[in-house]
Symmetry: C2
Subunit: 500 residues, 2 copies
């Protein structure tokens, strides 16, 4: 059988790179299909699209995990000399070993099962009926446990799944950071709840979606988003996807509150900015790829929260609001509304910068126990409600507002949620380091974001996967990855805003 080896070179490293590039391009094709599905595809296209995506992921998995990859890798690694060669072989080996250990048939069964589960989840959420989703969740937990068993039968299956998203951070490290975040946020939220300060909504009435789109396009312009390498579309859930050559953004609009499209758009800009800052020459190899989810989320959160929700940025947003929407709240009113803490909100994607992490922690605890077999699927709604009450002081109205609110588990993604909070912690640490070198606030007042983009490109983006996460953070910030910068940041910011 032909080996899907694009290179006619005799050098094993060149041949490995060539093979990996081909398979990565298959993965990139899948991302384009997924973008299309969420933005342009007519509804009737779903059955074919799920088959196309399953075919691409099966082919990529099959060929990446094939013995031919392992043979090339062994030969390439034995001859690797430069740091880049060693790093590339390290990253390919990590993925090769994982894929080689998991049968393609299991990947396919899981993909197919997840397709059904997503449909069932949509219906169950609409009916607020967890029982209708429970058998699907049970199957997916079982399939992912089977997956973890293939990867390593001797390890905690949740740890194995977490590493699918975060291969360079141990679950112990992650758990410590999450615990530090929770321990800082819980008392802070208590104090906020007791505060008399309650920022009011400066927006009244409704705002046309086309006008809001023109607004966020101007915001993206002002941040330096390169339209010749990207585009903005509407989608039910904002996301960013693509390559260094073409990094797209989607957003959505809320007719009563323009900041509900501005900040998600700035968030996605942060993701796109990372993608666009990757080294072009390494496109298609790990050296040209973003380092894992926490680092990606650090870039989106940095732009969304540290830049976007700052006074200098809001001072520049104000005239754009006036121009496009005919409303010009004063900057302090905007700042208060943009940073308002709402502990009574039970929905993660609508949560503020503080309580967001409590939503994450409760999901992390539940999915971890589910995967470890310490919690039954039937118990999830009650545990969810209890933890929401405990961490947030609010009770979900029903399962739709409770255990059915997120799509992640329906996709079979267990171990993903923690990366959101890890990314926020990393954002604060990276922003603090960038601020030592670049006067971000001063530049932001001038609408000048090139210096910050340049700093991030230099210290984070252009590295690709050359460094593992800890080394990347340490080289960029001078310290090991920890929650300290984040806890100091939120403490200072929210005690000032809420006068507590």
């Amino acid at each position: 059988m032909a080996t899907t080896d694009a290179s006619e070179s005799d050098d094993p490293y060149d041949r490995l790179v060539s093979r990996v590039k081909r398979l990565r391009n298959v993965g990139a094709a899948a991302e384009v299909l997924s973008w299309d599905q969420q933005t342009k595809m007519p509804p009737g296209g779903a059955p074919a699209r799920s088959q196309q995506l399953a075919a691409l992921s099966a082919v990529e998995h099959d060929l990446f995990g094939a013995a031919a990859t392992g043979d090339l890798l062994d030969a390439a690694a034995a001859a690797a000399e430069s740091d880049d060669e060693v790093a590339l072989c390290r990253e390919v080996r990590r993925e090769y070993e994982r894929r080689a250990s998991v049968p393609t048939a299991l990947v396919e069964r899981t993909t197919a099962r997840a397709s059904e589960a997503v449909e069932a989840w949509q219906a169950a959420r609409a009916d607020a009926d967890f029982d209708a989703f429970a058998p699907h969740l049970r199957d997916l937990v079982a399939l992912k446990r089977e997956y973890a068993e293939h990867v390593d039968p001797d390890r905690d299956p949740y740890e194995v799944l977490f590493e699918e998203f975060e291969p360079c951070l141990s679950l112990d490290r992650a758990d410590a950071v999450l615990t530090d975040i929770r321990d800082a946020v819980v008392p802070l939220v208590d104090d906020v709840r007791a505060s008399d300060v309650d920022p009011s909504n400066p927006f009244e009435g409704t705002y046309d979606e086309d006008a809001q789109e023109a607004l966020v396009r101007d915001v993206l312009d002002s941040l330096g988003y390169p339209w010749e390498r990207g585009r903005l579309d509407r989608a039910p859930h904002p996301f960013s996807t693509g390559t260094v050559y073409d990094a797209r953004i989607t957003t959505r609009f809320d007719e009563t509150d323009p900041v509900k499209s501005v900040f998600p758009t700035v968030h996605e800009f942060g993701h796109a900015c990372y993608t666009l800052g990757l080294p072009e020459d390494d496109y298609g190899t790990p050296l040209g790829e973003a380092r894992d989810l926490s680092v990606h989320e650090s870039q989106s959160r940095l732009w969304e929260n540290h830049v976007g929700r700052s006074r200098p940025f809001l001072a520049r947003l104000q005239p754009l609001l006036e121009e496009h929407l005919g409303v010009a709240p004063d900057v302090e009113a905007l700042y208060g509304w943009a940073n308002r803490v709402d502990p009574d909100n039970a929905i993660r994607v609508e949560a503020d910068e503080l309580t967001y992490h409590l939503h994450v922690v409760l999901r992390y605890e539940i999915e971890r126990d589910l995967v470890r077999g310490d919690l039954d699927v039937e118990e999830v709604p009650a545990v969810w409600a209890d933890k929401t009450e405990e961490y947030l002081g609010v009770t979900p109205a029903d399962d739709a507002e409770g255990a059915l609110q997120d799509i992640h588990w329906a996709y079979g993604n267990f171990g993903y949620f923690p990366t959101y909070s890890l990314g926020s912690a990393m954002a604060a640490q990276v922003y603090e380091a960038a601020s030592d070198d670049v006067d971000v606030a001063d530049h932001a007042r001038e609408g000048e974001f090139d210096p910050l983009r340049g700093w991030l490109r230099e210290h984070v983006h252009r590295r690709g996967k050359r460094l593992e996460t800890d080394d990347l953070v340490r080289e960029a910030t001078g310290s090991p990855f920890a929650a300290d910068a984040f806890t100091a940041y939120v403490d200072e910011k929210y005690r000032a805003l809420y006068e507590v």
Copy 2:
């Protein structure tokens, strides 16, 4: 090495179908990427996109032509009983044998060379400089000759390349049909040229593109285009692509002449209508695929020329023109303009229903001689000019209007052009047969196109590749495929219009 075999069944036929479906879905993914490239992709995305498309075609070629496919095919074919099973094995074998004989490295080299050639062609055409394109054309001819040599070193290489697009029609048959078309069209064009009738342009001034888009959307509505399984976008060159679940159309607009978007849109509707009429249950296998290019083109030409350019259709177009563009030429004026013959036009894509085939014949003759080694690349511009003079009585102003006007050769497509004329001939034959069963003109007057769509679905679309082309045409029309219906149709139509 894993075999990319999706099925866990023991039955070789099931396993073959499963494998073919997976690879066909990879091909379908490539079509989505190509659609995106022509409609949505930002310009910077090109380098990644060409790598993604090359990866998908290499993976599909490699795995389809792999020994594992051949082994499954042998086992499946030995056990095949039903007509469907036999037909599927016949079609898979045809493709397997072709792919197995051609090294993936050659396919990749050709794809990469074509990418460069397309860019060079664009620049050369802009400069009307054939010499700048000549080395690219020479390389592509050599690569495609190498391809043909791999497939069968003992056969005419042009015949081998033609069969890539038209595997069920012999080149002799095709040549006979093309000759019959030419022999009918040449004297007819001479008579038209001598006629005093000269239909005048009923449109004046310019028409807004958005208004024209609203017009063609209404036209598509009236034809029954199902928007839940398709969409309309703008692209530099109109095309249709997709699956039975999602068959998309693109078009472009000419600000001075609305019929220049209406007929291309109706043409693409014809392609989409075929795709949408394929059997859903066979999606991803040859039984669910369109039969080759001539049959596809028969469907687009049928809707464009036999339906679209007819008086009943134009009578329904008239009020839509008035509604959207504020212009309402009378039906005879529209009919004359929509069917005007312009022998002085040197550009194929702007050619009328008669002279179009003379453009095709000259390309066919030139590419055939190039591939056979009977013509040197340097001679092409002069031969092109001579043949244009001979067949059309007009001399191209320069190479841009001459040998550089089409992109096909830059893509490495030799043997494609004849399928356009074969499709027109087939359209006339199929339309004649449909008209025996369905009163198409009468229904069209009522804006009722379901009966024609239903007839085409029953006799052509739903068959997929169950029948070879000749059998498909014979079963649908009662006669073997020939040019007679076409020559009779154009003779009657154009002698009446031009009073000759």
